[in-house]
Symmetry: C2
Subunit: 276 residues, 2 copies
């Protein structure tokens, strides 16, 4: 997934964005901005490509989404949150640069992501405001951040499937829905079609988090257990979870073909879940 042209475009553009940063601070930001799959940014660009839009105009918006994803991970890893020492096979930001800098790295990534969207010169201001409104709604205190709050304050040993699903929706699925809503906004799709796109984001998001929880469970990831985090493996059997994932996957493939055809979104989705 890392040798796609959309991946390369995003990495290159992120490097350009970082050019103007203060050197020491830039290093701390870069450290956590690169190394991932740039999945959300890639989905944005590939969705627009499937709809035959020129993706060059949207690269900075894809970068902004990756900056926001990176901010949420840096803050999630902090000692007061998940207290993770490793992320993507290397030490977490605060383990290398200290907690104070890690807090500021996250703040900078969120703040600057919005700046980058507000600076885009290719789309009308109405469209940019609509993008910013959706970003900050889906990922705000009634969205992703609330999901992080509930994840932090809910014990896995004392939860239920409904609660786990709610946290998953807010903490993870909202972001995938957002990516597809932005595809709808940038492509000026009619509202019914945007809803169908959002539904695809919803299905991908659920599949993504269920797969993540399964992988963590199978690979015996320790921090979820130590922190008693409310994952789906706390409340359901592995058999059942795998069946749910297969169902979501099939439904999602059908929806993707309806809206995006058999294009890039379908390809990346199938690569994400080929083992399930």
């Amino acid at each position: 997934m890392k040798n796609n042209s959309s991946f390369v475009l995003i990495e290159e553009h992120l490097n350009k964005i970082l050019n103007n940063y203060y050197e020491d601070f830039k290093q701390a930001i870069s450290y956590s901005l690169f190394g991932g799959k740039m999945l959300r940014g890639q989905l944005l660009l590939l969705g627009l490509k499937d709809l035959n839009f020129n993706i060059d105009k949207s690269i900075d918006i894809a970068c902004a989404l990756e900056m926001i994803q990176a901010y949420s991970l840096v803050h999630d890893d902090l000692p007061g949150m998940d207290n993770d020492d490793y992320r993507r096979g290397k030490l977490t930001n605060h383990k290398v640069y200290g907690e104070g800098v890690a807090v500021l790295v996250g703040d900078a990534l969120l703040n600057d992501a919005i700046y980058i969207i507000s600076e885009n010169v290719f789309f009308e201001k109405e469209i940019l405001i609509e993008v910013i409104k959706n970003v900050t709604y889906k990922l705000g205190s009634n969205g992703m951040i609330l999901g992080q709050y509930l994840d932090l304050t809910t014990k896995g040993s004392n939860t239920n499937l409904l609660e786990v699903k709610k946290i998953r929706q807010l903490k993870t699925v909202n972001f995938f829905e957002l990516v597809f809503v932005i595809i709808g906004i940038l492509s000026k799709s009619e509202s019914q079609k945007v809803l169908k796109m959002e539904k695809i984001g919803n299905l991908i998001g659920h599949a993504f988090q269920i797969k993540d929880d399964l992988d963590d469970f199978i690979n015996d990831k320790t921090s979820d257990k130590i922190n008693d985090r409310p994952t789906v493996t706390c409340v359901n059997s592995i058999e059942n979870i795998k069946r749910t994932l297969a169902d979501i996957k099939n439904e999602c493939i059908n929806e993707i073909i309806l809206i995006f055809g058999k294009g890039e979104i379908l390809k990346i989705f199938e690569r994400m879940f080929y083992e399930y």
Copy 2:
């Protein structure tokens, strides 16, 4: 300063904004959102009032500025940053709700502040994008957040006046400049006039921080000393600092009268610095 009608308007509107929040999280957010003087929000409204604009349309933008100010304080107080136990005479957010929640409270306040600006229905989208662009530029990784980074990584015992001024500019003055730039944007003032307004913000910001450092020094505030923070009292005599402050104050009063007349901005400024 807390019984002004602009103060009351901002507090009331912030309470309305918080109505829709998840209950437990709302408490943690409210805890740090209220209790201050709402100075930046008040300056915005009073500046518009002096220019004969209807301030009702801008209350949510004033609230957004206060939310951003609160986010920066909550994150500044964290153990990895200033490690302050008290703020405004009560325990800091992380002392009451824990570090994880305090990180999320800050994130939510920044994120939602932008959401609130993007949702404003009184101003054209071009104006709102311009506001958001300036907010995230002045307060971002080349602005306030960089100032926080430099403040964190610079030792007071090994600094100089130039460095102290740069950090003050970024960490504090930028925000006051921003308030006055937004007055310019919302009042659709011509660019020369906006620059003059920004200059007023600049002078108020410098005066504000110098006064703050002086007060902390005189009242023997401990955390700056413990953390070896680069304040002006590290690099200049109290005599000299007081003289500088008096000069800035006089210059600022002249500039205020030129742009805003002898109105509310002049009044609040004189109340801020009546003892100097």
